[in-house]
Symmetry: C2
């Protein structure tokens, strides 16, 4: 059964110190799906407008992603984001956001999607995430991402849906904000304490510094793969999540041991490092599995000490 991801499918206009693109395929669900597709079958669910055509679908289909859950809204326009990054790519300014078809998106999963055993709720309004979560009655592993906007404006729903998934995957700044704690590990443990039954893990995405995995009794940290040039960080976090969740999905009947989760972190890290060396989906769209495997080996070499 494929991994189902529900979230934004977008056109992005991005300017970085290394160039710009006026309109390219983007969106959290797209980056996630491409990354996860290296490990398992993936079904993408989200709305697009009439401006979304065969060229965009082809990028997904070439990676065997099931696009039947993409909702084409007649007369609608696809979600659009325009942003510009600062010189060191650690700051970015949103210059324009046009929700388009996302404004009235009410996710309704197909019978097949409801049976998914692995689900990723990309960053959308928490009530929509809750609705998707409730439709999936057969999950083995569910994870979600969110953002500062929802922590500010829809905290109650957000906490509710966090307590109904196995894993929260967020930036460290968002994690601190969510828990009201300055320490990443302290904030993660706080979130894990909210539910006795769910919430096995929190992943803090640390941007160029890597990612940390916090469970009730464990901690694991992995650096980002070192790159001399980052061209466009857009979607790196979603790629990470796609690699992480996709790897877990592919392990089918295996228990979610620390060993398995750590390896998933390494695969997420490896894919994200390819994402950022070109604009948008350009590099990941032509990535090969052996390149990912090699990078995981490199990451192990770069972190081991005796």
């Amino acid at each position: 059964m494929p991994v189902t991801v529900v979230g934004s499918i977008a056109f992005d206009a991005v300017k970085t110190p290394f160039g710009e693109r006026e309109r390219m395929l983007g969106g959290a669900a797209v980056h996630f799906a491409l990354a996860a597709s290296f490990f398992d079958e993936v079904r993408i669910v989200g709305p697009v407008g009439e401006d979304f055509g065969e060229a965009e679908l082809a990028v997904l289909r070439r990676r065997n992603i099931d696009t039947s859950g993409i909702e084409h809204v007649a007369g609608g326009k696809t979600f659009f984001w325009r942003g510009e990054y600062g010189w060191d790519l650690n700051t970015r300014e949103t210059l324009d956001t046009q929700l388009g078809v996302f404004e009235s998106f009410k996710p309704k999963l197909s019978p097949a999607a409801r049976e998914s055993d692995v689900v990723f709720l990309a960053n959308i309004q928490p009530d929509l995430q809750l609705s998707v979560r409730k439709q999936c009655t057969n999950t083995r592993f569910a994870a979600l991402d969110t953002m500062n906007l929802w922590i500010d404006t829809a905290r109650e729903s957000l906490v509710k849906v966090i307590n109904q998934v196995d894993c929260l995957i967020v930036n460290d700044a968002e994690l601190r904000q969510l828990a009201g704690k300055a320490s990443v590990v302290g904030a993660a443990r706080e979130v894990l304490s909210w539910s006795k039954t769910n919430g096995r893990a929190v992943v803090a995405k640390l941007g160029e510094y890597g990612a940390a995995l916090i469970t009730r009794d464990g901690y694991f940290s992995i650096p980002a793969f070192p790159l001399e040039t980052v061209v466009d960080p857009t979607g790196a976090g979603d790629c990470f999540a796609g690699g992480f969740v996709g790897y877990i999905a592919a392990q089918r009947d295996k228990p979610l041991t620390p060993t398995l989760l750590r390896r998933a972190m390494a695969y997420g890290t490896a894919i994200a490092s390819f994402n950022v060396v070109e604009f948008g989906t350009e590099r990941v769209a032509r990535l090969q599995m052996h390149e990912i495997d090699e990078r995981v080996v490199d990451l192990r070499r770069m972190t081991a000490f005796s």
Copy 2:
């Protein structure tokens, strides 16, 4: 032969969300010396005023640090720094700096100090660092730290002294500024390219995210030890440097292999994590070697994946 560290010996006034101290022992050379003292003999060199007394010296002497190189300036006042940290301890504001005896400091090493085989030039004006570097004619390993002020105001001297040491140990923001490159690894490789004979390694201190070691053909990254509460980050970077350089110093005749350098990174990381859980030197002053060893084991456990 002891490790010699030349740099600031200070009184700090620090306010953090967890409390404040109006006047406590501080300064880069002090934090470095205390950390390095767990591995090797240490000699500290720097000026103090008449306000610097037995109580402060006792903190150093209890760790068997050679204080004969501390220059007591008659009528002078010890370097003073006052700062306040923001809620997540990642931002800090300098509220007052009084150079005092540091204003006219001209480091003149004793004959014994000149023979040191390991020297650390803590963050002081680069021309003074150059002067110290030239006085030490017998070094096996020399390292230095610096800051944004000197990159802005004394770049030429700074580059000169960097090219005469084996290892540069700086914050990542300073490294980027120094090399004019956004990527940490790119900036480090740039600095390493400045000298053909020296400059074996660059260590980028990443604050709460850990540290990275970059050599001409290698890369190693280690996260900070995860802490639920950080009380006072002052001196953490100097503690790290003290553990790192001290560990290297203690290895005497062993070649500086990647294995040795990585282990040194782990020891620096371990000691820095103790420094930040109390104010100033309070925690490290009563630290025990077995606690450091245990933390290195923990760090290995928290970073390993297969």
